[in-house]
Every structure is written in structure tokens, then in C-alpha cells.
């Protein structure tokens, strides 16, 4: 199924770094996300948009996985040629990942 069924996601941006926070809709699915939603899978899924490293932070107290994506392609809100210069739509693109 799509990650969208299980989780919601928020994108943030700071320069050419994008943050993607993923929260299970049901706290009971947190461990499933920890097992399946690795930094490598996220990077592969967003390869068209993220050129650099993806770092995953586990936040069990908040029931959240927080991904920090470096070198967002076309980098940075100010001089990007992308339509979505902030990369705000990356959150929904991540939710199209199959889990």
C-alpha cells in the first residue's frame, strides 16, 4: 500500500536542505515505519529531487521519523528554477512510496 494510507508528512525547507517529518496515523504503526522507511529508501524514492545525503532521525517520544535531505536538486528557494521553489510538494511525493 501507499505510505499515504499509513502516515502524514510535513515538508520544511532551509536553503537547499529539505526536512520531511513522517507521522503514522496510528501510533501502533511507528515500528513498521522504523523498519521500512529507511533513509536509503527515502533517498531512492526522491532521487529525482534530492542529490545529497538523507539523514533519518528517530523520535520515538513524538512517534515521528524526521528526514533531513541535503542538496535538494536545483537548490534553494532563492535561485531555483523549479516551479515549487521551496520543495513543499516533496511531502506528498514521499507519501506515494509503497510500503
Amino acid at each position: 500500500m501507499l505510505l499515504h494510507e499509513l502516515a502524514h508528512c510535513r515538508a520544511g525547507d532551509k536553503g537547499n536542505v529539505a526536512t520531511l517529518s513522517v507521522f503514522p496515523r496510528d501510533d501502533g504503526d511507528y515500528q513498521l515505519l522504523v523498519r521500512t522507511l529507511t533513509a536509503d529508501r527515502v533517498r531512492a524514492h526522491l532521487a529525482e529531487y534530492v542529490a545529497g545525503e538523507v539523514v533519518r532521525h528517530e523520535l520515538p517520544g513524538l512517534c515521528a521519523l524526521h528526514f533531513v535531505c541535503h542538496q535538494v536538486v536545483d537548490g534553494g528557494v532563492t535561485t531555483s528554477l523549479a516551479l515549487d521553489t521551496h520543495g513543499k510538494s516533496l511531502s506528498s511525493r514521499l507519501l506515494s512510496l509503497e510500503v
Partner: protein, 427 residues
């Protein structure tokens, strides 16, 4: 000290005005913060100031304040805002004039010192690129992110106007003032920074940027209410929004905003504290309120971040649509025609949309006016020279201010406060 209530009245320059008006009229607030200054906004404002020294503050300030000053002054709510942008003193004078024209009295304080263009070492490297700052292009602005300490001497005013200040610090300062916090009290400054971080984007905490029909439904999104926090002396916060407003305040919306733009959950750097959000608890208490506690902090960084704006040329964006059977292939052919004819021009050409409703988008940044015009012209000429059925050409050209970051030692930045008194108070 008892609990104090602080509201969020704007999360960006273009934000709605009526939610702030509503909070001022019936929110029983002590303070309201209007955060209106994006990374690039200050550089664009600096451009306006260069063309007219009386400008350079947030251009929506007069419209916003015309509606917000009367209820704020009537109900004794202090306003803190970064709408001073590149010219806080001019913003202060405009605010003074607005107050006087309506006979509202009141005291205006202006915080300056964030503009460090004259002191910045332009041979220092930019964070993002490692290249010396001056090699990015003509530098037009350099603004340090001031911290809460710069605002403390201004808190006796009814309206506090700043230029660049770290967004959470706009909240930390009034909280510290109301609750008697010392700026070195790490647990409390950390807690206040979390409150500021949660509130700084206004509607993004209360169901804005969240709705996903059928999965995350938000009631009355068209009438989104903005948030406030009841902050206790120990920094624990109870988040709420006004009854009768639309939106949603829940553990889900608060968790999303808590981590928003946090690049290191263990060490988020602000001018006031190094914030650790890993132990923060977010609990729905019933009745639509959410309790937040558990922030930790270590000492603040020794340097301040500086946002440096440079002229990056102009960006042209040109688009054309194709619809119906085989639209995707016609759009792709159109892209090929344009990129072939513009060979050698660095550009981005992409086909957006599905199989039967497509939009070709071509974008380029250049300092060369001829290049900008050619890109627009090539897309427009697809009307009669490109694939079948192209329509809806739009071409936009906008100047681009690039932003890179640098660090500056704290002691090189000298914040100051100027008070603008009401005429009768000064007499």
C-alpha cells in the same frame, strides 16, 4: 508570576489580517506577534529602500496596522513584529503616524542593529557554497538574526518593531518579559523557543497546510483561526484557538509544526539557545487544546547567522498547455523544439500534468535581458510554429535576489532601541 497568553497574528508577509483582528478583539491576549519577514523579503525591501529612503519596511504594514492598532491599543495587547524589514525606523514613524491620526496614543519602540552590511567581511565564505560572499554577485543586503535579548529593552512599548530577528525570538522576548525569565535560564528559554517555533507560522499550527480530504479533514478551512499559547512560568504551554473559528488544533498538527524546518532535532540553533526537541511531549487535553512541555536547551551559539542578499539576475518562466489525446507527446515535442532552438542557454524545461492535460514550463535565470526575452519569445512562438493545439501561453520575468548565509561574531552586532512617543506624552 502567573500564566501569560501570547497570540500569533501573521505567519508570513502575505498572511490574512482578520484572524489577528479576531484574536485582538476577543482573545484576552497579553501579546501578539506578527512574523512577516521571509529570507528574501528583507533583500527585496532593501531594494525599495535604495530607490526611496522612506521605504524599505513591509509594504503591507499600513494596511495591517490600520485594522490591528485600534483593537490592540483598546485592549492593551502589545504588538511585536518584524515588519520593519530593511527600514525599521521608517516603519516606526509610519506606525507613530497611524496611532496619532486615530488619537490612540501609545508608545512605539524600534529595534535596529540587524543591518550589518557595513561590517560584514565579504571575503568570508558562504555556508551553502563555500565561496567568498562577494563572488556570488553584487551584495545588496546583510542582516544578522538578532535574538530575544535585543528586544528586551523595547518591551515597555505598546508596539515593538524590528527588522531581522530570529522568528522564535520575537516570542521569547515578550514571554521572558511577562514571566520574569532570565535570558540565561536555559530550560525556560528553550520552552519559550518551542512556543515561538510553534506559533511563528500562525495558521500552520491550527490546520493550515494540513488538510487532505478523506484522510485529514479540517473543519471550516476557509475561516481558519490563528493560535495562541497560555504559557506558564515554567514554560509549559497550553495551545488554543478561539471558539467559533475554523481549523484544527491537534496532536497531529502540533507535531508537524514542531519539526517544521528543524534540521537537527537535538541541536536547533537560535540566537537564544541550542534547542533539543527530542523530549518534547505533545498531548491533547480535550476541548481542542494541546499541551506542550519538555524542551531542553544548551547554551546559545557564539556567533549570529547573517542572511546575505545578492543580485542573481532575473528569472523568466514561460508556459504553454496541451490537452486531449497524445497531449504528453505534443508537450514533449514542444519542449524539444524550444531546447533545440535555445541550445547553449542554461534552462529547465519540464512537462507538468498528466497524459491528457499537460503544461510545458521553461525557466531560466540570467543577467542578460536578451536571453530572458528569447526564452519567453520561443515559448510564445510555439502558438503557430509548434505542435498542434498549444494554448494559454504565459510569460513572467522577475528579478531574483539570491540568499546565502554567513556567521558574524556577536560582539560585532550592536542592537539598539529607539522610542517614538505620542506627541502629548513627549510634551
Amino acid at each position: 508570576m502567573s500564566t501569560t497568553r501570547i497570540g500569533s497574528g501573521a505567519g508570513f508577509s502575505g498572511d490574512r489580517i482578520e484572524p489577528a483582528e479576531d484574536l485582538l478583539r476577543r482573545g484576552d491576549l497579553a501579546d501578539i506577534v506578527l512574523e512577516c519577514l521571509g529570507e528574501r523579503t528583507v533583500a527585496l525591501a532593501q531594494q525599495r529602500r535604495l530607490s526611496d529612503p522612506s521605504l524599505g519596511y513591509e509594504r503591507r504594514l499600513p494596511a495591517r496596522f490600520a485594522r490591528l492598532l485600534p483593537p490592540a491599543l483598546a485592549n492593551g495587547v502589545r504588538i511585536v513584529t518584524n515588519m520593519g524589514a530593511a527600514n525599521p525606523l521608517a516603519a516606526g514613524q509610519v506606525t507613530r503616524d497611524l496611532l496619532d491620526a486615530q488619537g490612540l496614543g501609545g508608545r512605539v519602540a524600534v529595534v535596529t542593529g540587524d543591518d550589518v552590511l557595513a561590517d560584514l567581511d565579504l571575503d568570508a565564505p558562504a555556508w551553502e557554497t563555500g565561496k567568498p560572499l562577494r563572488e556570488h554577485g553584487e551584495i545588496v543586503s546583510a542582516n544578522a538574526y538578532l535574538g530575544a535579548d535585543a528586544l528586551l529593552p523595547a518591551l515597555s512599548a505598546d508596539v515593538v518593531i524590528t527588522g531581522r530577528v530570529a522568528d522564535p525570538s520575537l516570542f521569547v522576548a515578550p514571554l521572558a518579559g511577562r514571566l520574569g525569565w532570565d535570558v540565561d535560564d536555559l530550560p525556560r528559554i528553550a520552552a519559550g523557543t518551542v512556543v515561538g517555533h510553534l506559533l511563528e507560522c500562525a495558521g500552520q499550527l491550527t490546520g493550515g497546510y494540513f488538510a487532505d480530504p478523506g484522510f485529514q479533514d479540517v473543519p471550516d478551512l476557509h475561516a481558519l483561526g490563528f493560535p495562541f499559547a497560555d504559557v506558564e512560568p515554567d514554560g509549559t504551554a497550553l495551545l488554543g484557538k478561539l471558539p467559533g473559528t475554523g481549523g484544527l488544533l491537534s496532536r497531529a498538527t502540533v507535531r508537524e509544526q514542531l519539526l517544521y524546518e528543524i534540521t537537527d532535532p537535538a541541536a536547533y540553533l537560535t540566537p537564544d539557545v541550542t534547542l533539543d526537541v527530542r523530549g518534547v511531549s505533545v498531548t491533547e487535553t480535550g476541548a481542542g487544546t494541546v499541551r506542550v512541555a519538555g524542551a531542553r536547551g544548551t547554551p546559545r551559539p557564539g556567533s549570529l547567522k547573517v542572511s546575505v542578499g545578492y543580485r542573481a539576475g532575473s528569472k523568466v518562466e514561460a508556459e504553454i498547455s496541451y490537452a486531449g489525446p497524445n497531449a504528453a507527446r505534443r508537450a514533449a515535442l514542444a519542449a524539444e523544439v524550444v531546447t533545440t532552438r535555445l541550445a547553449g542557454v542554461p534552462l529547465r524545461a519540464e512537462v507538468l500534468g498528466g497524459e491528457t492535460d499537460c503544461r510545458l514550463r521553461v525557466a531560466a535565470i540570467s543577467h542578460d535581458q536578451d536571453v530572458l526575452e528569447r526564452v519567453g519569445d520561443e515559448v510564445e512562438s510555439l502558438y503557430t510554429n509548434g505542435p498542434a493545439g498549444g494554448g494559454g501561453v504565459r510569460v513572467h520575468v522577475n528579478e531574483v535576489i539570491g540568499i546565502v548565509s554567513a556567521l558574524i561574531p556577536r560582539d560585532a552586532v550592536r542592537p539598539a532601541v529607539t522610542f517614538l512617543e505620542a506627541p502629548d506624552a513627549a510634551a
